[in-house]
Structures are given as C-alpha cells and as structure tokens.
C-alpha cells in the first residue's frame, strides 16, 4: 500500500473514531465531570507537546508557555466575540457556519501567538545559554500585567461572554494535529537540525546549520501551537482571567514534559494526562499539591534527569509495528520508502 494512502486511511479512521466519541459525549452517556476532565487532558496534551518541541527537541529552555497560551486565548476570544459570531450567523448560523468561524478563530489565535513568539524569540534566541529562560519568564509576566490593564478584554475582572464550544472532537483534533506536526517535524531534516542544536550548538553551527534561524522557527511553531491550546481553553468555559495564565501555569506545563521526559512525545502526552487528572484526585490536599510537585521535580532531577520516559522513542516503535501490520513481514519495501521520503524532505529543505 502506498505511504500516502495508508496515512490517509489512518487519518480517516482517527476522524471517524473522534466523531463517534464526540457523539457519545454529546448524548450525555458519560458523567459530565469525567467528560470535562478528559477534555482538559486534551488541552494539556496540546500545550505539553508543543512545549516539548522547543524545550525537549531543540534544547532551548522556554518557561513562558502560558504567556503564548494567553496571547492565543485572548486574541481568539476577542476575535470570536467581535467578528466570529457575526461570521457564523452571516454564513447561515448553521453547523457549517460555526465550523468555519471556529477554524478561522483558531488560526487567528495561533497566528497572533506565533507573531508574539517571533518578537520574543529573535532577541533571546540569537544568544546562547539561559537567556531564553529568563526572557520567556519575563514575557509571561508582562503579558499578565498588560491583560490586567486592557479594558477591552475585561482587565482584571476577566473576559466573559466568549462563545462556548465544548467539543470533544475539536479539542482532540487539535491535540492530535499538534502531535502529528511535532512528530513530523522531529523526523524530518528540520528536526534533525533542531536535535543537533540540542546536542551541541557549536558543532551544529560548524556543520552549516543556521542555528538562530532554526531555533526561532521552532520557537514560533511552538508558540503558535500553544496559542491554539489557548484558543481551546478560551472557548471551553467561555471565560478568561489573567490570573490563570500566571507563571505557575507555565511551570505546570513544564513539569508535565519533564515528568514524561524531555524529547519524548509519548512522555509529554502521558505527563499531560497524569498531571491533569492528579490534581482532581488531590482535591483534599490542594495547598500541598504544589509542594509535592516541586519536591517531585527536584527528586526526579537528582535521580532520573532524563524524565520517566527519557528520549525513548515509543512512537517510532508503534509506527514500525503499524507498518509491519499493514505491509506484512517484508521490511525491505518499507525501509526503501522511508529512505526515499527522508531524502525528499532533505531536498525540500
């Protein structure tokens, strides 16, 4: 079976499954509390996997992810309230109109967050070392200060009246898209350049990798995807508050990917799920939650700095098994297509 056909079929199956699950959730067959946590898991996955692209695979330490998420959330919410709803009604107000409006809103949120990523990334990523960490942390703080003062989006009172889109399908479509995008980036020539920067920036530069350009590109993509996560959050409850984007949120996302292992997509998915469900279980110990998290983080760093899954590529193993299942035991054909495709991506660079 040709590669594109197989991918197409897989995509169709995934869409069908998502759609089916969406119908199940809409029918209210499952406890709404569990549904809600599941959807929050989806949003966390989007955020964690996107942060892993810059922190885990490129080795550049960003700790202001919540800032980009806030940019995406607020810009898309503003767009939704002022233009999106009109757009949906002018398109007939039916399901199609809403879907079109939602797609445009998501793109707006992701694009604005990407531009913010460009503005933050260019000055800090030109330099080597830890500057990105401190600039992103500062950026996250500045964003909260500004959001608290912009009256058009409610200021410190919070921004309410955002149209609510509680769609399992939409949230997990974005989450899966994020995973697919990051996976494909990492396994392309672009991704190899990023990993070479992580392993040794000086050596990468000596091999002709334009390190600044690649770092900034990875950072912008990561920020845009964080923005998309913010879009989901904005339309999840229909209410935004600058408080929910403070540094503590950035650290939560960071802990997700560190727990799972920097540079492991499966790890960040698992980390996101665990750290979204865990607080629900720890409701009774709310004030000790962050103490436990931080102790966990320190102990993890001392005993197992590569995280629980490290950079083990469980996804690769899964794909290999999938390929074997679809093509039978003859591994030669698949390896040929793979080397061809990687050559192709090398050229397209």
């Amino acid at each position: 079976m040709p590669r594109y056909l197989r991918n197409f079929i897989i995509a169709l199956i995934v869409l069908a499954v998502l759609f089916g699950l969406d119908l199940v959730f809409q029918a209210g067959l499952i406890n709404p509390y569990y549904t809600r946590i599941l959807m929050l898991c989806g949003i966390s996955i989007t955020l964690a996997v996107s942060l892993n692209l810059i922190n885990g695979f490129t080795g550049q330490f960003s700790i202001g992810h919540a800032g980009f998420m806030a940019v995406g959330a607020y810009s898309s919410a503003y767009f939704s309230v002022n233009y999106g709803m009109n757009l949906a009604t002018s398109l007939g107000g039916g399901k199609l109109g809403w879907v079109v409006a939602l797609v445009i809103t998501t793109l707006v949120g992701a694009a604005v967050a990407g531009v913010a990523g460009l503005a933050v990334g260019i000055p800090s990523l030109r330099l080597k070392g830890d500057y990105l960490a401190i600039v992103t942390l500062g950026f996250g703080q500045i964003i909260v200060v500004f959001l608290n003062n912009i009256e058009a989006v409610g200021g410190a009172r919070g921004y309410s009246g955002i149209p609510i889109v509680k769609s399992f399908f939409w949230i997990f479509l974005i989450a899966i898209l994020t995973i697919v995008i990051v996976y494909n980036i990492v396994n392309s020539g672009f991704g190899r350049a990023l990993i070479s920067i992580r392993e040794d920036e000086l050596a990468a530069e000596a091999m002709g990798v334009n390190t600044t350009r690649y770092k900034v590109m990875a950072f912008v993509i990561s920020s845009a995807m964080a923005g998309a996560g913010g879009v989901l959050l904005a339309h999840f409850d229909g209410y935004l508050n600058p408080k929910s984007f403070e540094f503590i949120k950035s650290f939560e996302i960071l802990i997700m990917i560190i727990l799972g292992g920097l540079g492991s997509i499966v790890g960040s998915v698992l980390g996101a799920i665990v750290l979204t469900i865990l607080p629900e279980g720890l409701r009774g110990f709310a004030e000790y939650r962050m103490v436990i998290y931080s102790l966990l983080l320190i102990i993890l760093m001392i005993t197992r700095p590569q995280g629980l899954l490290g950079s083990s590529d469980a996804f690769k193993g899964l794909r290999k098994r999938l390929r074997r299942a679809t093509e039978g035991p003859s591994g030669t054909a698949s390896s040929a297509t793979q080397s061809e495709s990687s050559l192709g991506s090398e050229k397209s660079r």
Binding site: Y131, I134, L137, G138, Q141, F247, E287, V291, L297
Partner: protein, 322 residues
C-alpha cells in the same frame, strides 16, 4: 524638579536593594554558570525570618526587662520605640536573618544543586526552578498565604531636603547598610584568600581544582554569601515597605536577575550598577508614566540589552572555547 529628585531618592533606595539581590545571582552564575531561580525566594525567606525574629526578640526582650509583653510585641529587642536602641535591634534582626539564610543557601546547594552538578546545565536549571517552587509553596504552607505586616524596627520619619522632596529615615538606613554590605563584599572577594579562591573558581573550575582549591567548599561559601545578602535585602525591603508575603520574591528576584544581566552577569560591580539603574528607571516610570507598568519596565530593559549589548554594561565578551 522636586518630583524628579523624589523619584531619584526612591529609585536609589530601591536600586540598592535590587543590587544586593543581584550580587547573589551574579556570584552564583560566576562560579556555577547557573541561574539560581531560588535566589529570589531566599530573599523572601530572609524577610520572614526577620519578621519572626523581630516579633520573637521583641516579646522576649520585653519579658527580660520585666515588662508586660502585650503591646510591646513587635517593638523590637529593647522595646520603647526610641530611635537609638531600636536601630541596634534592626541590625541584630538583620544579621540573624542573614545567618539563617546563609545556612539555608548552603543546604540548598548541598542537597539540590550538588547532586545535579554532574548532569547538564539544563538539569541544574530545572532543579533551581524546583527549589524555587518548593520555597514559594512551602512558604505558603508554613508562613501562611496571606500577607504579614513587618513590625516597625525603628521610628521612621521624613526629612525634607528641598520643598516637595523628602527622604525617609528608612531610606537612609537602607542606603547605608547596603553600601556597607557591598564594601564588605568587595573586601571579602578582593582582599581575602577565600575571595581569591572564589575568583579562581569562577575563572575556571577545573584549573582551580587542580591548584588545590577545595571547590565544593568555595561554591558552598558563595551560596552562603549570596543568600546572606539576599536576606539582608529582604529585611531592608520589609523596613521600607512592611508588607511581606511568600510570593514576594518572584518579581523582585526576576528584576534583580535582569539587573545582573544589565551590569554583565558574573561581574560584581556590574550587579551593583545594574541594580541601581533598574531601581531608578522603575521609580521614574512610576512617577512619570503609570504605576501599572512598573513590573514590565525591567523586562523591556532586558530585551533591549539582549539586542544591543548581550554581555552587559561592564561585562566582557567571552570567547567560546571548543
């Protein structure tokens, strides 16, 4: 003009405090190449230690003198509220808080940073974030999340310089103490054997080890020194503005780090200059623009510095060796 003078005075006073904290960042970065994120929280712990010491000493001191502790709690070691003896209380409280935080700094280094020193710098950075979160959230559990009000260690009064501009006695104290601490630090770093070892370690850790320097001890000493300065800053801040809470170290710590970068990270005079510049700029923005944006100023400066002079004002461009 008087507004300008007033803001300048406030700025220098605030800047001196940023300088004290920035010194800790810059020294630790000098020897370990690590952004010690927990440093701002050590400053917070310093303020709380000062708070408990002042209250405890005040009550004990009153009892020792045979007075009823009620109503004198929080008045300082010798109570009474007169300026001269209470100044000594303030100094005692500050020195004790500095000693406690020096120990805390050494403990943090020993149990969190030393085990990860053999791994990558990213691991150390994440550990530092972990320690920072632990101090912030542990502080919320131990000290309580609600803000506390620092007792008045000596009577503050305003002294008019020109019409419209006055200087608070607290500001004068802050300036004198921080100046004395910085001079003391200069003496330690440039005039003692330990100071020479510190400079050697920050120049090259491996060679320093080969020359027979006990680098572990020097690194621990650096942490102790930096944490003590942060604690002094914590008590001084609490004297100026008596409201303290467990999250007070985050923003101040970040700004002090920006001050260290502005002056040239790893450079001790640079940290002092950077702290003063950040403090003055911030109060000018508060005075002439809007107080709501005061927290954004430092980061705007940081981005400008990174764009135009990443090595900082007094820093030298380090050649990267392969």
């Amino acid at each position: 003009m008087s507004t300008f003078l007033q803001q300048l005075i406030n700025g220098i006073s605030l800047g001196a405090i940023y300088s004290l904290i920035a010194l800790g960042y810059t020294m630790v970065y000098g020897v370990l190449k690590l952004i010690n994120f927990a440093h701002g929280d050590v400053y917070m712990v310093g303020a709380f230690m000062g708070f408990y010491l002042a209250n405890g000493l005040g009550a004990r001191g009153a009892q020792a003198l045979g007075l009823s502790p009620d109503g004198i709690v929080g008045r300082g070691l010798l109570g009474g509220g007169t300026l001269q003896p209470s100044l000594i209380t303030a100094l005692v409280v500050m020195l004790l808080a500095m000693a406690i935080c020096a120990v805390i700094g050494v403990v943090i280094e020993r149990f969190a940073y030393r085990p990860v020193r053999k791994y990558s710098r990213l691991t150390a950075l994440i550990t530092a974030i972990g320690v920072s979160l632990l101090l912030e959230n542990g502080g919320q559990v131990v000290f309580g999340a609600e803000p506390k009000f620092f007792p008045e260690l000596f009577r503050k009064r305003n002294i008019d310089i020109v019409s419209g501009a006055s200087i608070n006695s607290a500001d004068i104290i802050v300036l004198i103490i921080s100046l004395a601490l910085m001079v003391g630090l200069q003496l330690v770093v440039y005039r003692t054997k330990t100071g020479r070892a510190m400079r050697a370690v920050s120049f090259n850790l491996q060679s320093a080890k080969l020359m027979g320097i006990n680098t572990d001890r020097i690194i621990a000493f650096t942490f102790a020194l930096g944490s003590a300065l942060a604690a002094a800053a914590g008590v001084l801040v609490a004297i100026r503005i008596p409201r303290i809470d467990p999250l007070m170290g985050i923003i101040v710590g970040l700004k002090a780090f920006v001050a260290a970068v502005l002056g040239g990270i790893g450079n001790i005079p640079g940290a002092m200059l950077g702290g003063l510049l950040i403090g003055i700029t911030e109060t000018m923005v508060v005075g002439y623009l809007s107080p709501t944006y005061k927290d954004a100023v430092a980061f705007a400066i940081l981005i400008l510095i990174l764009l135009f002079r990443p090595s900082g004002l007094l820093g030298t461009v380090a050649q990267e060796k392969v």
